[in-house]
Subunit: 148 residues, 2 copies
DNA sequence: TGTGAAACTGCAGGGGG
DNA sequence: CCCCCTGCAGTTTCACA
C-alpha cells in the first residue's frame, strides 16, 4: 500500500468534512488546481484508501431509534470471513467485529423498534453458526463519528 | 419532524451509496428530474435529516489499526450530557452510548497502536466520573457501515 | 429553458529517482 | 534518462434561476 503524503492527508480531511465539495474548492484549500485534486482522489479511490462517499443521516429521522450491541457466541472455531459473509446481507447490522474475551463477535444493530430488532436478531442467529447471543440495548447515543 | 415518503427514502439510499452522485444520476434511479431531486435534497438538508456528506476512509490506510470496545462503569448517577461533554473532545473515541446492563456506557475507541490506546483509555477515565473500565480488543473489523 | 460554472480529456513543462 | 506530477485549454455536462 502506498504511503500518503501531506497533500493526500489534506485532501482526505476536506472530503471527510464535505464529500460533495468541488475539486476546485478542495484545491483552493490544499493549494492545488482542480485537475490535480481529481487525479489524487481517483488514485486514492483506486488504491482503496477512500472506500466511497456517503451521506450522514440523522438516525432519528429514519426512525431507526432502537439500537443494540449484540455479543455473539459461536460454535467451534469460525473464520472471520464466514461471519462477514453471513452478516453482510443483513441491513440492520451497522458494524461487526471479532473480539477478544468470551464472546466471538460484537455487532452493532439498528432497528425501527423492539419487534424489528427481535427479527433482526433472529436473522443474525440463523445466518451463521451462532450458539447464543447477548444483547445490550443502547439508551442514548452520545457520540457517533464516521472516521476522524 | 416531517415524515419521509418513499421517494425521499430512495434519494437517501442513493446518496448513502454514493454521496458524490449528481442530481441527474439520482433522478435517473428514483424517477425524478434533476431539479426535483435537488429540491428534495435541500429540504432534507434543512430538516436535518441529512447531517452532511463524508468520505469513507480505509482505517488501515490511516494506520489506526488498533481498535477496542470499552465498557465504562461510573460512580453514582450520571447524566448522558455530562458523559458526552467529557468524551466529545477525545478524538480516539469513535462512538459512545449509554446502555442497559451492568456497565453505564460503551465506547468504541480507535488508536494507532496499543500504547496509543492505553493513553486514550487514561484520558477517557480521567475525563469523567469513571469508576473503572473493561476493554475488549477488536481482532478484525468485519463490517462497518455509516448509516444504511 | 438558458446561462454560468463545474467536471473531464489531451498536451506541454518541470522536478526527482 | 525516464517517469510521474502539475498546470493549462479544449469540450461536454451539470447546477441553478
Amino acid at each position: 500500500m502506498r504511503q500518503l503524503d501531506e497533500l493526500d492527508e489534506k485532501v482526505l480531511a476536506c472530503l471527510t468534512r464535505d464529500a460533495r465539495a468541488t475539486y476546485a474548492q478542495v484545491g483552493d484549500v490544499v493549494g492545488l488546481s482542480a485537475p490535480a485534486v481529481k487525479r489524487r482522489v481517483d488514485r486514492l479511490l483506486d488504491d482503496g484508501v477512500i472506500k466511497g462517499f456517503t451521506a450522514v443521516i440523522d438516525p432519528d429521522a429514519m426512525q431507526w431509534t432502537t439500537e443494540a450491541y449484540v455479543q455473539v457466541f459461536c460454535r467451534g472455531n469460525i473464520s472471520p470471513e464466514v461471519l462477514k459473509e453471513a452478516w453482510e446481507p443483513i441491513p440492520e447490522v451497522v458494524s461487526a467485529a471479532t473480539i477478544t474475551g468470551q464472546a466471538d463477535a460484537l455487532l452493532r444493530v439498528r432497528a425501527g423498534d423492539v419487534r424489528h430488532l427481535e427479527r433482526a436478531l433472529e436473522r443474525i442467529r440463523s445466518a451463521g453458526p451462532v450458539d447464543h447471543s447477548e444483547s445490550i440495548i443502547v439508551l442514548s447515543q452520545l457520540i457517533d463519528r464516521g472516521h476522524p
